[in-house]
């Protein structure tokens, strides 16, 4: 019995820490959906973009991926901004389905560009510390997982502060609650939407780096992580930072415990099934509005 409990220690802690990563991945999805009511099916692929970008940086420039965020964040911000400004803004005026289909198109284009550039082989980002672990008694905790969590905390705290304390952040919140009323307050909603998408891209950059450090990824990994993000958003509810974190942790635990009991090959499958079950049982989520 002791053995059993002890062996659980690692997956438990890792699951919670992993939750941080998943929360960051979900953040961009949640933001875009909360503000513009668009479920960006290309979000997972944007995160993977961040992963491949960091991969390129370390492979060709030898720069640590976390440092590469200095470039990665603005770059992905611009991409997100551009997607909204030039593609989605027009799509919204057309119909309800148009933005979704376009997001789907973007997703496919990205996935196949990755495939052309990097082959379907799975890749990972390795650094000096990516293989190291902390050891607490008999529990091994990979350093990367701890870094994930710290990064997640940083991102969420700063985003929360940004949204609450800056004019731009408040404008984003206002636009998400009532876009027309926001316009009447002098808010340029078109630009706000583009900014939101850009911020989502920026968070994707961060998520991508840590994802690449934690898991191997392939050109089609985007979908798997989109599904996770979706699950987190459903669980945590929109507009709730805490909820997103909790949702992330629940799914993180599901994955690590699932891997522990059923083997690592089944990890993502367990997540898929869990998200489907969540959808079946409680589409409104556990927290948030």
């Amino acid at each position: 019995m002791d053995e059993f409990i002890a062996s659980l220690g690692s997956p438990l802690i890792m699951g919670i820490l992993l939750g941080g990563l998943y929360a960051v991945i979900a953040l961009g999805l949640s933001l875009v959906f909360g503000v513009m009511r668009l479920l960006n099916v290309a979000h997972g692929d944007l995160v993977i973009f961040g992963s491949y970008f960091a991969y390129l940086v370390i492979t060709f420039l030898g720069i640590d991926p976390i440092l590469s965020l200095v470039l990665g964040i603005p770059f992905l911000f611009l991409i997100g901004f551009a997607i909204q400004k030039f593609l989605m803004a027009r799509a919204f005026k057309l119909s309800m389905e148009a933005p979704l289909i376009i997001a789907f198109g973007i997703s496919l284009v990205l996935e196949n560009v990755y495939q052309i550039m990097f082959s379907p082989m799975s890749r990972g980002i390795s650094t000096s510390y990516s293989m190291e672990s902390f050891v607490l008694g008999r529990i091994y905790i990979p350093i990367v997982y701890v870094l994930n969590f710290i990064a997640a905390l940083l991102v969420m705290v700063s985003l929360h502060a940004f949204l609450k304390r800056t004019y731009l952040g408040q404008a984003i919140i206002a636009a998400s609650q009532d876009a027309v009323a926001a316009q009447l307050k002098g808010i340029n909603t078109a630009r706000i939407f583009a900014m939101t998408f850009g911020i989502a891209g920026a968070t994707a950059a961060v998520a991508g780096v840590f994802l690449g450090l934690t898991f191997p990824f392939t050109p089609i990994s985007g979908i798997s992580f989109l599904i996770v993000a979706f699950g987190v958003v459903i669980l945590g509810g929109l507009g709730s930072v805490l909820g997103t974190f909790m949702g992330g942790m629940i799914l993180g635990l599901a994955q690590t415990l699932g891997a522990h009991f059923f083997g690592s090959a089944a990890q993502m499958l367990i997540l898929d099934i869990m998200v489907l079950v969540i959808l079946a049982v409680r589409p409104q989520g556990l927290f948030g509005r």
């Binding site: 206002a174 027309v180 316009q183 009447l184 307050k185 002098g186």
Partner: protein, 235 residues
């Protein structure tokens, strides 16, 4: 100050305004009166830039604002309190007020305007950390007017403020309106209730199914009230 010239406006393919023209001078309190479906909210939305007219022009302080975006128009000094008390429900009272000073020009005067708003509506200061959706109808209306004032407007558009509010609250709001005007802000307000409105306004336009049917000084229009009673059947 504001010249609306021969506006035709559509909702999709449905025409809502026909050849509407109004003129507002600085410092006035002007009413636009009409029953439901007369197009009065549409007129305000056209002025605010939310709807663009199919024909006609809008000139504000010498500038043609006909095809400008709403946020630009707010920046120029026109602020609307829309009907239906559209608040930001999950933000606090303070946040609702603060977001009112979003436009460039208003930001520097935020503290000053905020003090002014709290003086006009002391209850808002009491409840400043309360979540907006928990406010009563009257408080919401006050908050929305306050928020509009935060954008440092020169022209204030009020859409059906008294709808669904008790007479006491309505009185308070009209009192506030006069105070606002005394600070030099021009006011256009839209209402259905003919008699009360004509008591508060200096001039009025009467809108019926998208067309201006009567206009003039309030006293003059009040004389014609018998005619209006027939038109609107108001008490």
């Amino acid at each position: 100050m504001l010249k609306v010239g021969s506006i035709d406006a559509f909702y999709g393919s449905l025409q809502v305004l026909w050849d509407v023209s109004i003129e507002i001078k600085p410092g006035e309190i002007v009413a636009i009166i009409g029953s439901n479906g007369s197009g009065k909210s549409t007129l305000l939305n056209v002025i605010s830039g939310i709807i663009h007219p199919a024909r006609g022009s809008i000139v504000f302080r010498g500038m043609d604002i006909t095809s400008m975006d709403p946020f630009q128009i707010v920046g120029l000094g026109i602020s609307q309190v829309p009907e239906g008390r559209r608040i930001f429900p999950d933000m606090t009272v303070f946040e609702n007020l603060r977001i009112g000073s979003y436009s460039r020009g208003a930001r520097s005067k935020r503290e000053e305007n905020l003090k002014h708003v709290y003086r006009l509506f002391p209850r808002l200061e009491e409840r400043r950390n309360q979540i907006a959706k928990t406010l009563s109808g009257g408080e919401r209306q006050m908050m929305m007017i306050g928020s509009a004032l935060m954008s440092d407007p020169k022209l204030l558009l009020l859409d059906e403020m008294s709808l669904g509010l008790s007479p006491l609250v309505v009185n308070e709001i009209y009192k506030v309106m006069k105070e606002i005007r005394s600070k030099g802000i021009t006011i256009i307000f839209v209402e259905q209730n003919v008699r009360r409105t004509l008591n508060e306004a200096e001039r009025a336009y009467i809108l019926e199914t998208g067309r201006i049917v009567l206009s003039g000084k309030a006293e003059a229009l009040r004389e014609e009230e018998k005619v209006k009673k027939a038109y609107f059947g108001t008490r």
